[in-house]
Symmetry: C2
Subunit: 460 residues, 2 copies
Amino acid sequence: MTRVLVVGADAAGMSAAHQALRAAAEVGRELEVTVLDKGHHTSYSACGIPYWMAGDVDSGDDLVARTAEQHRRAGIDLRLGVEVVSSDLAARTVTTRSGEEIGYDELVVATGAPAVLPDWARGPDGTPYAGVGAVKTLDDGAMWRDRFERAAPGDRVVVVGAGYVGIEVAEAALRRGLDVTVLTRGRGLSLIEADLCGLVTDAMGRAGAKVLLGVEVSGLDVEDGRVTGVRWDGGHVPADHVVVAVGVRPATDFLAGNGLDMAPNGALRPDGHGRVADGVWAAGDCCEVRRRIDDAWVFRPLGTHANKHGRALGDSLGRGGLGRGDGLEFPGVLDTSITRFVAGGEHVEIARTGLSHEDAVAGGFDPVALVTEGTTASGYMPEAAPLTLWVMADRPTRRLLGVQVVGGEGAGKRVDTAAAVLWAGGTVDDLAWMDLAYAPPFATAWEVLQIAARRVAERL
Amino acid sequence: MTRVLVVGADAAGMSAAHQALRAAAEVGRELEVTVLDKGHHTSYSACGIPYWMAGDVDSGDDLVARTAEQHRRAGIDLRLGVEVVSSDLAARTVTTRSGEEIGYDELVVATGAPAVLPDWARGPDGTPYAGVGAVKTLDDGAMWRDRFERAAPGDRVVVVGAGYVGIEVAEAALRRGLDVTVLTRGRGLSLIEADLCGLVTDAMGRAGAKVLLGVEVSGLDVEDGRVTGVRWDGGHVPADHVVVAVGVRPATDFLAGNGLDMAPNGALRPDGHGRVADGVWAAGDCCEVRRRIDDAWVFRPLGTHANKHGRALGDSLGRGGLGRGDGLEFPGVLDTSITRFVAGGEHVEIARTGLSHEDAVAGGFDPVALVTEGTTASGYMPEAAPLTLWVMADRPTRRLLGVQVVGGEGAGKRVDTAAAVLWAGGTVDDLAWMDLAYAPPFATAWEVLQIAARRVAERL
């Protein structure tokens, strides 16, 4: 009987736990799987929280893919409210906040990446000021859902950060009738090239949000422990609520002192089977992942990777670990992602796959990139919405390197087609000439992805 | 000065003409390009006609991508209303209906494929009975648009054929408030596997259309030259209008007697550069195309192929023909296509790429196919619509062979991702593990395409 201890009960950890049991059963091996989580929820969709805040989703329960009870019925010993604070990998033990020492044969680190709350967001006792918080856990979601429901129309919400969460929270707040200001220290949106950012920020502006670029928040105005404004060098906005969406950081402090190789932010770097060291495995948001195009380690804490990597880890571990049998392998990522901004009559889909221009230069490519405008459907159809594509290829090899899109309904998921080309290491010529689906409600006769690819192909 | 004669002024012919001029200019070659067409319209979207009939598109002019005047301004000698009736390829001449003989150095056949009107649809003089017609040319479209606008609510429209055009015309007629019956001799829809057909015919039924499968029309009831009903062996339905959508046939009769290799239906089989024989080129709906997966010649008269093949042809011809310089090459098709049925509160998208099960068996593969159900967005989102996928792979090689989808808004264009995998010759494992875009409004955390691919992968 092999004792598997999983720390973290969300996407990566629970995928790993279930797949390990399935794979072990297939090879006739016995596993005892214990999962610890410091919180009280399992397998929930953090990505769905902004839509719960907006009112699209009725209940936090809807965001839970599988309950604790469902996991336990599958034979997993799930212990919630148990925080692991330290570990001794040589002795194969972890220690919990309550002082319990737990031994294991195989450790799976799936602790995720909690939201970063900068010092300026917190009072002297270390907790956030009233009216201030992140959007990461189900408890965060419940708090914001409640605040947004109680808020009076026109209450001022300041969102700090313009990544996925920042944009999605701005959408939610606008749809609740609140006054929205988004502050970001960047000169644009971190997700996409500067060439495309204006399309998003303009739409946010038309929908009533103020978007302030190049703003590094330095502090809050606080009265009676409650936030009343946000300050930066040379500026200030009043605020009833401050949503902090400045990023996340891997929860790997409990591994300190064991000599594991980690990225500067504390992320682990497991191989495709999830293995970090002898007896130590990891997957999900507490890890970096390999980007296939340039073979770089990147920190992309996304649920879709966590599910896939967790499954590969569980399969490899369940079959007996490497060397004792094959297992599924997580083959890395392409840096694909998507979001949207839908409020005030605006509908903008924002998606990317592959390298940015900066990544490409750093990776030693000779990138050629062009922006191309088109429509999501034939121009004469009522469905036709504008769509702007950024396509980049490598000059000497003609290899496709990256595609980004900003556009109306039906624009975003077009990056999947480009992702499939990147996956195969294909060229812009492949993308330009392949046989994609055309009918007037769905595309132009020359699909805009293909026009964009053709234009880049002609410049190489 | 090389005299290029293009017969046919729609997508393939005009793409070829323009690209030939551009390519010739690049290599410093002089071309004189003449284009003949028996009709009076150029470069129009036949695919858009059903949406014009439905009232989505205001004017037939909206369907014209480029007018005759625009083509002439680009330096093309365009002659409309000129029908070519015979040819002497050895002498390099064609003869028109009016008896004019026109010489050329290079002939481009882009005559398309007119709709088939069976004998039962036509009176003794060979023209269709009043109330009967096909949906192919802009003139057809104008006629049907006018008929549908004048029709009284509840007027009976019988559509013969359940391919793309049949489904789209049924949608148009229902949205005009007409009574719709679709008759097809097949046991399902020709576009997709039998497993998926019920999803479409059920939706058509809920929207008010009657769909009769396995019905081979044998004749019409006609009073005073006007249709009143449609008959088949053992059945009959009354009809005020009969839309004949039973297919198309290449317009290559004028090439008879020249010994060209043709498919049984008269389609030409040009190579990727468009060349059929010395001095003879062809592209578009009058041709078969190569399907890459099984290297079979298939007849797929679609505008998107016509545009691409026309462009490759023009480029190759303009640069001087093969052997005298490279030109773009049309790399074949995947059998991708898409349509939709949207009426009476139903929204069904229907799309396919790759082989059918029958194709796969005929091609010597060992196919394994499964149907998988999922949703277009995370289940808790209001956007989530059902989506059913059929995925097929080859057992020994794990190669993806075909994907079909029937589902709600956002379902159809998912086949493009599968098409990109097919293009690269990828496996179901590639599709299952690649990095596709996820956010709750756009997909489930495990994208349904990937769940479906995974399920097939597990059966191989």
